[in-house]
Structures are given as C-alpha cells and as structure tokens.
C-alpha cells in the first residue's frame, strides 16, 4: 500500500498494471503467431520467439488439397461479405422505420429483436438442418447466408437504430427548404451522417459471421460451403493421435490477423458500436 502513496510509486504501479494487462490481452495472439512461424522440428522447443523463422506451415496449408484450407477461406470471405451486405441493407430499412416513423408496436419490435439476439442458436440447428435438406440448401452458400443474416439482423437493427436516433433529421427538411431535391437531401445530408453507424454495424455483423462455428459445422458437409472455423476441425496430423499444431496455428493466424488489424484500424467506431448497447453475438 505504501508504494501507492507517493506519486512516483503510484505512477510505477499503474505502469506495471498497464503492462500486465497488455501482456494478458496480447500474449496469446503473439504466441500463436510465433508458433505458426516455427519449423516442425522447433515447434515444441517452448521458446517464446521462433529461433528460425519458417513458413513451412503456411506452405503446408496452402499447398495441400484446396478443399483443406483455400476453398474454406474463399467460402468464409464470400459468405461473410454477402451476409453482411444483406443484413446491413435489411437492418438499415428496419432501423430507419424504428428511428423515424411512428407506428403501433414499435417498442415491442425492439424488444423482440433483442430476444432474437439472445436466442440460443443451438435450438434451431435440428429444424434448420431438416428444412435445408428438404429445400436443397444444405451445404450451399445460401444455406449459411440465411441463418447468418437472420441472427445478425437483430444486432444490426439494434445498433443502427441507436445510431439513427442521434441523427438530426431536421437537417433533411432544412436542405429541402433550401431547394434540394429529396434525393440530394438524402445523398448530401443524411447519408454522410448515417454512414458511420452503417459502417460500424457492418463491421460487427462481419465479425459475427466470420467467427461462427456452430452453423458452419452443422449446415455444411463438404468444401462446397464449409468455412474456415469448421474446416479447422478437419485438419489432421501425421498420425491420428497427433494434433496438427503447426497447420492449426498458421490457419488460426490467417483468420485472426486480418480481423484484428481491421478492428484496431476502426477501433473508435467499434467502441462506439459496442457502447450503443450492441451485442457481440
């Protein structure tokens, strides 16, 4: 306690806390990066830094059969991007109605959308599985896009309506009074004000789709629509009992680093999105 009394001691104490936290938060990510860069021989050497940088695990996963990693990576990107676009468009329409229009049942609607966001997705796996098999959607892109959009929609609506409520909509009217056409008023006045909210929502929805594992393992069966999180479960080691640590690390790095870079780049907006009462999923 005494150390906390003097200003200098206080400063050191806070710095120590800072360092500890940053290590706790960053260490695991840095470590898997290091693991992925070790060669097979030095993989178990337990040193934090790789002694010799080797890209052999990256080569392994990219040179293996396309169905192992490349195809799932393409699926992940394609499915997440399409699902995000659809969810943001539908979410924007719904959120605009909630923020701008008066209609009966509005409050209930917001409550319902939150209930859906909290819903245990696992419950719907069996019925969805049956439904998609009957409709021929099982193991296809739309078969994953549909549930992704559905479960991301409440999140999108909720975040967007929180943002839209803060937009000074009178400006639209003012622009029209000054002679702008409705189209101009929307493009020049409202769209720039709404863009940050829409963008933040898109990031949150994309992360939700990108991270999904449950739908991906239940609603796909081949490389046709399997995404990376599900594909990792099919990585095999040299023998059945060996964990393919190196390839898993390399694949984990590939799906993690872009997201982290993205999030850090837009951190201000994401923090705003999270504190608007948004949910992660």
């Amino acid at each position: 306690m005494a150390i906390l009394q003097s200003p200098a001691g206080k400063k050191t104490a806070w710095t120590l806390v800072d360092i500890f936290v940053i290590v706790y938060a960053l260490f695991p990510v840095l470590w898997i990066l290091s693991l992925s860069l070790k060669s097979s021989e030095t993989l178990a050497d337990k040193s934090f830094f790789p002694t010799d940088i080797s890209f052999e695990h990256y080569e392994t996963i990219f040179s293996a059969d396309v169905s192992l990693f490349i195809r799932p990576l393409i699926n992940s990107i394609g499915i997440s991007v399409i699902a995000t676009l659809i969810a943001v468009v539908l979410g924007t329409m719904a959120a605009y109605a909630i923020a701008r229009l008066e209609f009966p049942g509005k409050r209930a609607l917001v409550g319902v959308s939150l209930l859906i966001a909290m819903f245990p997705q696992i419950s719907l796996i069996s019925p969805l599985f049956e439904m998609e098999r009957a409709l021929g959607l099982f193991d296809t892109w739309p078969g994953l896009i549909l549930p992704f959009v559905t479960f991301a929609l409440p999140l999108a609506i909720y975040t967007l309506s929180a943002f839209f409520r803060e937009i000074p909509w009178e400006l639209e009217k003012a622009a029209k009074m000054d002679g702008a056409t409705p189209g101009q008023a929307f493009r020049k006045v409202i769209a720039p004000l709404a863009a940050p909210g829409v963008f933040t929502t898109a990031i949150l929805v994309f992360i939700f789709c990108w991270n999904d594992f449950l739908f991906a393992i239940s609603l796909t069966s081949t490389e046709n629509a399997r995404t990376v999180p599900a594909a990792l479960a099919f990585f095999t080691g040299a023998s059945q009992f060996e964990t393919p640590t190196g390839s898993l690390s390399a694949a984990a790095v590939i799906i993690t680093i872009p997201i982290i870079v993205f999030v850090l780049f837009f951190q201000r907006r994401i923090v705003a999105g999270l504190t608007s009462g948004a949910v992660k999923g």
Binding site: L101, L109, P120, S123, T150, T245, I255
Partner: protein, 320 residues
C-alpha cells in the same frame, strides 16, 4: 448529450403531431420498411422454432429420420425423461457454475481495467484499448486453439513458466485430464475474449460521471476506496446490471470453446454444458426429439434472463 437528444425528439414530435394522417402514412411506410426483415425472420426463425417444439413432442431418432420407423407422438415424455435423468441435472449445474465463473471473471477483469483505463494517460490508455480489442476480435475458434496450445502438456508455455519460477512439479502437467482444471482453462479463454466488452461499457460509464462530483468528494476528504464504493459504483449500477446480464446470456450459450477445447464435451461428457449437450444428443446421438427438448428448455431459460435484461435496460434508459 441526452438533453440535446430529448430536445431534438421533442422538436420532432412537435413537427409531426398536428396531422394524424401522417401517422397512418407512417404505419404503412413502416410496414414496407420492415417487411423484408420480417419475412426472413419468420422463415428462418419462427418456423424452425415451431418445428423445434413439435419435434420435442415426438420420439424422433435415427430410424424415424430415415423413414424406417413411424413417428410416435410422446407428448411431454421427452421432457419427463430429461427431468428424470441425473446427467441432465449434472450438465445444468455445470453450465450454471461455469457461466457464473465466466461472468464474474469478465466483470471483475473488465471493470478493473475500465478503472485503470480511466486513470491512465492517453498513450497507455490507447494501448490498453488496442490490446483489449485484439483479444475481443480473435475468432472463438482461433482463441480456443491458442489457449489449448498455451496449456498443452508438451509445448505449452504455461507449464514452462510455472516450472521456471519454482513449481517444478508442473513440468509436463496435463491440464486437460482433470474435469475442473479443464473447465478452468476454458473459462480463462472465455474471460479473455469477453472482458473487453465489459471494459468498454464500464469505461463509457465512468467517463459519464461528472468530474465535479468526484472532485467535491475528494475535497471533503473522502478516501479513494470510499469514492469508488459510495459514488462511482452506485452511479455505474445500471451499466453493471446490463453488462452482467449480457455476459450471462453469452456465457450460458458457450459452444465453440467447449466443443473445441474439450473435444466435444470431454471424456464421458464430464465437460459438457447445456448447449453442447443439446448438440451431442441431436447430432452425435441422433436423438432428435430429446435434443429438441433440451433446446426448448434452454430457450425458455434464456428468454427469462432476456426479459430481466430488457427491464434493466429500460430502467437505465437505454432502450430505444
């Protein structure tokens, strides 16, 4: 901020009030804007939900799914069997305790860090946020493997560090052989990826506390501890409630981490939580009816928590 918002809304209402015709038009326009989202939710959520309840009332196993045996209506028998099964209660208890540990862990770590961040200078604060967001953004799948490898008996750094600082017995220690230490490792991963949400929320709350209030208390000679417990915590209470319930909802639904880190629920299912249990019953065990019954039970439990959440939010004035 809120004042401006209030005024703006008041102005909005004042502009629109005079004509009821506008309201009618509003309703029709709102219907058009909400229609696409509504159709999708009905098709992918409401209909499967109806099917879920239906399946849970039947004997629906592999033979019935492949059409080899006729469907048999059981009424509530699946539920009766579930309630009579000690395994279900064991898994439910494990889920509750596990979620509680994760929730408390995320709240303590997240709140402590929010306090640290609010007192830090701009550069360390930015670093704190960047590190936290990095952990938050890591996909659950990748995070699970990272922590699995960290605690790995052969190549894990944790044993290395522990034996390095004197716990020589920890060399080669197999963390994932014991039920409780396995749960602990998974909880560490979950806290790691969920504290950032609590931290960001609490930080926003702390920043919202007027500096004059804290200054006045300091002038009156209040200790740091008293300021924290008597002023800051009560003012943060609504946010703490929201972050708590939100964390309960997430941690109750944990799937990926348990599934990946314990290889589908651990040896003999000793690391199962309700979510993974329902999945195992329905997919691996091919007891679709029973899996659906567990799903219904989970849905009801989560809906109850969510209703509490909505009420807490309304109290905090956060609901749109």
């Amino acid at each position: 901020m809120t004042l401006v918002g209030e005024r703006r809304r008041a102005a909005d209402v004042a502009v629109r009030r005079p004509k009821t015709a506008v309201h009618l038009g509003d309703g029709r326009a709102a219907f058009r804007y909400l229609l696409p989202a509504g159709v999708l939710l009905l098709a992918v959520l409401a209909y499967p939900l109806y099917q879920l309840v239906q399946i849970s009332l039947y004997e629906y196993n592999q033979p019935q799914a492949s059409g080899a045996a006729p469907l048999r209506f059981l009424g509530l028998d699946n539920y009766a069997e579930l309630v009579a099964d000690p395994k279900f209660w064991d898994v439910l208890a494990a889920t509750v305790v596990f979620a509680a540990v994760c929730v408390i862990g995320s709240l303590v770590v997240g709140t402590a860090l929010a306090v640290v961040a609010s007192r830090a200078r701009p550069v360390p604060r930015m670093l704190l946020f960047l590190a936290a967001l990095g952990a938050w953004a890591t996909p659950a799948m990748a995070g699970s493997y990272v922590w699995l490898f960290l605690f790995d008996a052969d190549l894990g750094l944790v044993n290395e560090v522990l034996s390095g600082i004197g716990f020589s017995g920890m060399e080669g220690h197999a963390w994932l052989y014991d039920r409780y230490s396995t749960f602990a490792v998974v909880a560490a991963e979950i806290i790691w990826c969920s504290f950032p949400f609590v931290m960001v929320t609490m930080y926003a709350g702390i920043k919202g506390i007027p500096a004059e209030v804290v200054d006045a208390a300091q002038l009156d000679g209040a200790s740091w501890w008293r300021i924290a417990t008597r002023i800051i915590l009560p003012m943060l209470r609504p946010l703490i409630v929201i972050a708590t319930i939100q964390s309960i909802i997430w941690d109750f639904k944990v799937f990926t981490q348990i599934y990946v880190m314990t290889n589908g629920g651990g040896v003999a299912g000793r690391n199962l939580v309700l979510n993974v249990y329902a999945y195992q019953k329905a997919f691996a065990g091919e007891e679709y009816g029973m899996g659906a019954a567990i799903g219904v039970v989970m849905t009801v439990l989560l809906l109850m928590i969510t209703v509490l959440y909505l009420r807490a939010q309304r109290k905090a004035g956060w609901a749109p």
